[in-house]
Amino acid sequence: MKLRVAGTTYTGTVVDLRTRPIDGTALAASIRGQRCLPAVACPEPSSVYAYAGHVRPSMGLRTRTALAAAARSQGHGTPQDEAIAECCAKLTELDCSPPDLPDPVDPVPEATVDDLQETVAAHRGRLTARREVGAEEEAVRAALRDAAMELSERETRQAAARETRELRRERARAYRDTLEERRRLSDELANLRRCARATLVDRCADAFARAVETVPGAVPDDPFDADPVTAALAVLRVARTPAPVVLETGRFGTPAAASDCLDAPVVRC
């Protein structure tokens, strides 16, 4: 690794920064590629670094998840991998962006149209009656024309409103179907990942138990009950660790001893 802190460059597999004022959290983030400073050049860290890449007394650890990541770093696969990849691909393919809906149109009440239909019929009747007796019919004809026009306009608006409503419902339903599908796939993915993790943890459980006995720290009856620092060190010993590990713990006599035990490049701070 190559590390640059406040104008000084450090190289090698073991770097001791105990005398330098450096923030271990920032350094670990740099190693994971989440920060630019301090500048670190090192091999790509695996996902195990997200859990155990920064060992410190205040840390917590989801031991099984971290151990599964360690198993992955060793190249272990699971029978679920194919289904997991498929599920992920399906999830990324799903377009869950909300659709554009046409603006809602105020509905035209059925009663309005019914009333107008009655008016038109009444005018029509009056017109026929006047025609029969030979009375003046122009005023009634005009009233009929106006009423018929208004009726047709209202009917058109009613149809348009109905259509818009249908369209809005259709699009909303399609969108919600997609959301349901996403929910179903996410559940499935979570289940598959749980299964895969159990498989990986099983596979590495013995190696982990031996590692808990080897690294400095208390050894509980069940290795999974080990305190977070012990567990993290054991996970690191099990994992393949090409990138540097940040240690903020005095468990090891020297940084070099830590590097030997964990088989990893080490930054002690």
Partner: protein
Amino acid sequence: MLLVVTYSRAARRDLRNACRAHEGCVVRQFGRAALFSGTEFGAFQALRLHEKHGLDVQIEHVEPFEPADVPEHVREAAKRYEARTEPATPYERFASSRDLPGPEQLRGVDL
């Protein structure tokens, strides 16, 4: 009544909060859905969720239902099928040998 269904975690959380804060307008609460009373206040609470979460909140009008609202032949079919002696008989076969509407026939008719 109004059926309010949520489709995202945030909408579901707010629905739960609304139900807790306004018990009076909640007829029933399910996991990610709830029945609100058919009052303006129920609609107000439902619309607040809709304003905040858009299409992640679905609101439907729900009408009370009584078996008597359904045509006699449908009720009769349900009654006789549930009283069948052979539990493994699918409805289609059950109906075909009796004077009952087939499933396709039922599907094609709106209530």
